[in-house]
């Protein structure tokens, strides 16, 4: 238990150092890229240890309580971003946008009670993994797009224009962002399909418009609207960025704002 806490804290500290370096790097025009990659990776390993220890202790994966969901999503978002950071060198300074977004999640996670939860019978299925896995890729892809959008928006002010001047043009950033949004749509769709199949297995209905399903659907719809808007109208890059933020915010609310374990239908209780 203590080791678990310790490695979680150390992981967060590592992430925060990486984030601070990313911000300093942009502000003081310094290249800390290797160190940032190092601290993110160390944080990820420590985080994996914390998750693993908890898994062994509670005998179930991190998908029940708010704390577990925040923690495991922070982990996969980090993982996704590290891979992106490693592969897409020209846009590495986007870490200065992405990591602070993740700071919010970290703070939230640390202030959420770390208690154990109970597993409903309906969680004993492969669909859990498929559904959640798709969801994580979806959020990871949108997070990368948020990084691109963040730079586009920051560049609107003179300061941001200077600081991010040697990054690719807004046009290229927008292009990259919407490639990731395309990936996001595929995985969001897969997540909804897997979720519906799971719901059918677990509750004998595939779609019931419960609050979680509704928000997940609205998120999907807004993502579709964003893509359609972009191909129907000539959107400016900033407008594209705000669309990305909206999708991210909705996805975030769906994952964390809604009670995660939706109520099974309570029909036929009395009689």
């Amino acid at each position: 238990m203590e080791q678990e806490q310790l490695s979680l804290w150390l992981a967060v500290v590592s992430y925060v150092i990486a984030g601070m370096l990313a911000i300093f790097g942009v502000v003081f025009a310094k290249k800390y890229e290797k160190s940032i990659l190092f601290f993110m990776s160390v944080g990820l390993v420590l985080h994996a240890i914390a998750l693993g220890l908890r898994w062994i202790r509670l005998e179930h994966g991190p998908y029940l309580t708010m704390f577990e969901i925040l923690s495991s999503n922070l982990f996969t978002l980090m993982l996704f971003f590290i891979i992106f950071y490693w592969r897409y060198k020209p846009v590495r300074p986007s870490a200065a946008v992405v990591l602070p977004v993740l700071f919010i999640m970290m703070a939230w996670m640390m202030f959420t009670p770390h208690d154990a939860g109970m597993i409903p019978a309906s969680f004993d299925t492969i669909w859990l993994w498929i559904h959640i896995g798709f969801g994580k890729v979806f959020m990871g892809a949108v997070l990368v797009a948020v990084g691109m959008g963040g730079i586009i928006v920051l560049r609107q002010c003179a300061w941001g224009g200077r600081k991010f001047s040697n990054l690719p043009s807004n046009e290229r950033l927008d292009d990259l962002a919407f490639r990731f949004m395309a990936v996001a749509l595929i995985f969001d769709s897969l997540m909804l399909i897997a979720g519906a199949l799971w719901a059918h297995d677990a509750w004998g209905r595939y779609w019931g418009w419960d609050p979680l399903e509704t928000w997940a659907f609205i998120t999907w719809l807004v993502l579709v609207i964003a893509l359609h808007l972009r191909s129907t109208f000539k959107l400016s890059h900033e407008q594209g960025a705000y669309l990305i933020f909206t999708v991210f915010a909705l996805g975030f609310l769906t994952f964390y704002g809604m009670p995660f374990i939706s109520n099974a239908p309570h029909q036929g209780t009395f009689g």
């Binding site: 409903p120 019978a121 595929i186 004998g204 209905r205 807004v222 036929g268």
Partner: protein, 337 residues
């Protein structure tokens, strides 16, 4: 005329209309949650119908779909999906029924909603709930529900007797209906009403689901064909589940059924009775009931197929769009300029 109809097609196939309809659809879904109106499903149905129409005219007239086969496949998949959702809505049935342990299913206690074209055959179903077990496991100071097994005997469509165990992910399938066990189950006091003149009747009262309504084990009993109404409350202190050992849902070994008739209060044990002017009500004992979810929708596998087809098309579209120019390369090209 030709001019007018061409304009009409152009408007109805327009992508701006699509966007507008998306917004209407989203708004409809949200509004749906804030109303209890009986027609509320139209908030979702109408935008979907309009979207389907919009999509269909676009598929027929927009040239882009002739150039981009993958995009076409994707949108055709979507149209199929919309169509199937529509068909599903008018042919499906969703319902629930509570069956007392050891008794046969009674169509009159089913609550259901069905599409206008659903051929209702709930009256054809014949099955008996022989018994059921629900296992619980201790977990960090509380209990967690595990597997449910319901032992069912039923008549299939040819009238053959079948026996089987259904539960959690294995529904009972008869006449195209799927019946799933649910977490809804509870206690059922059983009674025998012996009128001074006439035949006795037996029946049970389903108390609210347990343990969900653990502290509200109350219900009313209106004795059929009499003015007598009883208020019932089940009391027991025997913990059904153990927080340290595996346990199963069962009838408490020590319980009292409190019955109130107007101002009179009775404490009943099995075999206990209450005398009325026109007859006598005997408390036979405590039984259990299981809640089943009833589901009929033949379109499901087709919907899954359409959704996967659409997704396949979408993936193909994006692949074709992005793969020829990897982003890094497009960047280098820009730098060269």
């Amino acid at each position: 005329m030709n001019f007018v109809s061409r304009r009409l097609v152009r408007y109805s196939a327009s992508l701006k209309l699509t966007l507008f309809l998306f917004l209407i659809f989203g708004a409809g879904v949200i509004l749906w949650h804030f109303t209890e109106h009986e027609l509320k499903n139209w908030l979702i149905t109408i935008p979907l119908l309009l979207l389907a129409f919009n999509l269909m005219t676009a598929l027929l007239t927009n040239k882009i779909f002739r150039i981009h086969g993958w995009l076409l496949l994707f949108h055709v998949g979507l149209l199929l999906l919309l169509l199937l959702i529509g068909i599903s809505q008018v042919t499906k049935l969703i319902g629930s029924v509570e069956v007392t342990n050891g008794t046969v299913y009674d169509q009159s206690s089913v609550q259901w909603q069905q599409g206008i074209f659903h051929r209702n055959r709930l009256d054809k179903l014949q099955f008996k709930l022989e018994k059921f077990t629900i296992n619980y496991a201790p977990s960090h100071g509380t209990v967690v529900r595990q597997d449910t097994q319901a032992y069912i005997t039923w008549l299939d469509e040819e009238g053959g007797v079948k026996k089987g165990i259904v539960g959690d992910k294995v529904p009972l399938k008869i006449y195209g209906y799927k019946l799933y066990t649910t977490h809804n189950k509870g206690f059922a006091p059983m009674f025998k009403w012996q009128p001074n003149q006439g035949f006795p009747i037996e029946g049970s009262v389903h108390l609210p689901a347990w343990p969900e309504h653990e502290f509200n084990q109350v219900n009313e009993l209106q004795i059929p064909n009499t003015p007598y109404k009883l208020w019932l409350n089940l009391k027991f202190f025997d913990p059904i589940f153990s927080t340290t050992e595996p346990s199963t849902f069962r009838i408490p070994s020590d319980f009292t059924l409190i019955a109130r008739v107007e101002e009179q209060r009775y404490e009943l044990q099995p075999g206990g009775f209450i005398e009325f002017e026109t007859g006598r009500l005997e408390f036979l004992g405590l039984n259990t009931w299981m809640g089943f979810q009833i589901f009929y929708d033949w379109s499901l596998p087709w919907m899954l197929g359409a959704a996967l087809l659409a997704l396949f098309g979408l993936a193909g579209h994006f692949w074709k769009k992005f793969a020829p120019t990897p982003w890094q390369e497009s960047l280098e090209e820009e730098e060269k300029k």
